[in-house]
Symmetry: C3
């Protein structure tokens, strides 16, 4: 295993776990049971990729590698019993950054998967990359009857869509630089999320739909 | 391009845009950002057809013709900046009629697509035609946490299902009259929506589920 | 038709109807119209299997046998006009047990279908069996904007998941006993639901996620 393979593997494992833990935090005020927490954890972790694969009309990724499911279930159960830990400031910050690296990587991977299939190039891969990264969380929030990220001002989906767009641009105009483009795009997603986490930067007011007074 | 091809093309373009604009109007009281408006616009415009194609197990239509996505994104952005325009009475009425022609045409096209594949003839095509026309709006409302058309008394989905049923009847009993049947069925959808828009005709009371007192 | 075929056929027909009737009861306080009741009935009855088949990437089951749809529509219409009947104590208890036999059978059938395709054995079939049995109800509740079974303390999905897990264990470790395993697993689901219905046993407190005081 090369270093870059190891890094990708590590982000995948930690990222899948972080996605599942996000479900525990999202469910905290809803008094759900341990089973529902696990279901929501699995949906958050693999839901986006599942929607992507259904739209791409290919075999769903986790049927070929059950480790995603096993990690998601384990992380959900861990989160159920130890969630006060995740809420501690330092650990929560660590958790937010793992989540950030995960959405960046899953977004680029999703874009890549659609692109290699020639699926609606160059626009559809951007949509599918974004769905891969944030789709599971949207389904989870809908099932929890809480406002999904589409209804909040947090900078979450926008960095993802921006990163996928830039990567898509590289694949279109400079395919020989695609590896560099992938790292740059993922880096941009991480950087924008970092600013949002550290400085609580939200979507600016002009970009919010509101009735004129 | 023949006249009828031109009409179909025009309804497709205008209808896709009208669907996306519907998302802007639906989101008006939710303070969503420009990105979410665009996502919801695209979901409204192509969501129904996407669910249909996933159920039919065929390649999703917009991956083969990105113009649907481009039109939906453009209309969403236009709607974001100029929504007070859409709310003006005359333009709103125009918008409602474009939407009406669009649901009529998408419903018939959806029924047709399923029928030609021999998918669950003669009942399943009615279901898939209806999903094509109204599925995107239902998903949008669910994501916006507002009551979807399934929970309102407006005559919207019923005309669509009725039109698809009649068209399905033509395909079954008089396939040689299918073109006439398509126009008649679409016309019926438009006519029922017209009555609903003009006279605010709702679903009658006997057809509403309610506990006996 | 052998006796066991007849039993399976009978549970399928009655179970599909029971699922559709569940939608009428779920919609009672929402003043939905007769069309929406029917849509929700069909979604409850065939929604779980539809999601399963989309994930499995196979032809949706009801396109090959429209009787599921016909039964679901008929039961929804029956429920719309005669719902006070279903609420009568004795008939409601009968209804609850038909629903119980139905979830047990659909869960085992769903597990089986995924297993025979070799889809993510041995864990994915458990997930797909559970989706088959309860997925339609979750979508219905989401569309009705009411808390789905993921948010209630009722013992409903847990018995299903447990039954699918045990059946999956039989298929893995003792495939020659699979028929016995199917009956045992379905029996366990029915038994746990029976306890829940009769004694109002809920999910125990330790298994509920709650903030420490």
């Amino acid at each position: 295993m090369t270093t870059s393979q190891f890094i990708i593997e590590a982000i995948t494992v930690l990222g899948t776990a972080a996605f599942a833990l996000a479900a525990v935090l999202a469910a905290l005020d809803k008094k759900v049971d341990i089973f529902s927490v696990t279901v929501l954890g699995v949906i958050t972790a693999v839901g986006g990729g599942t929607i992507r694969d259904c739209i791409l009309d290919v075999t769903v990724f986790w049927s070929q590698d059950l480790s995603y499911i096993v990690i998601a279930i384990s992380a959900s159960l861990f989160g159920f019993f130890f969630f006060p830990l995740i809420q501690k400031k330092k650990i929560n910050t660590l958790y937010l950054y793992i989540d950030t690296f995960a959405i960046a990587m899953f977004a680029i991977q999703g874009t890549d998967k659609a692109w290699e299939m020639g699926f609606g190039v160059p626009i559809a891969p951007i949509i599918l990359g974004t769905i891969t990264a944030v789709g599971g969380g949207v389904v989870r929030d809908t099932l929890l009857q809480r406002p999904s990220l589409l209804l909040t001002k947090e900078l979450y989906a926008i960095p993802v869509a921006l990163g996928c767009s830039i990567y898509s641009g590289f694949l279109l105009y400079a395919p020989e630089l695609s590896q560099f483009g992938a790292i740059l795009s993922a880096g941009l997603i991480v950087y924008l999320r970092h600013i949002s986490i550290q400085k609580h930067v939200n979507v600016p007011d002009w970009a919010i739909l509101q009735r004129k007074k």
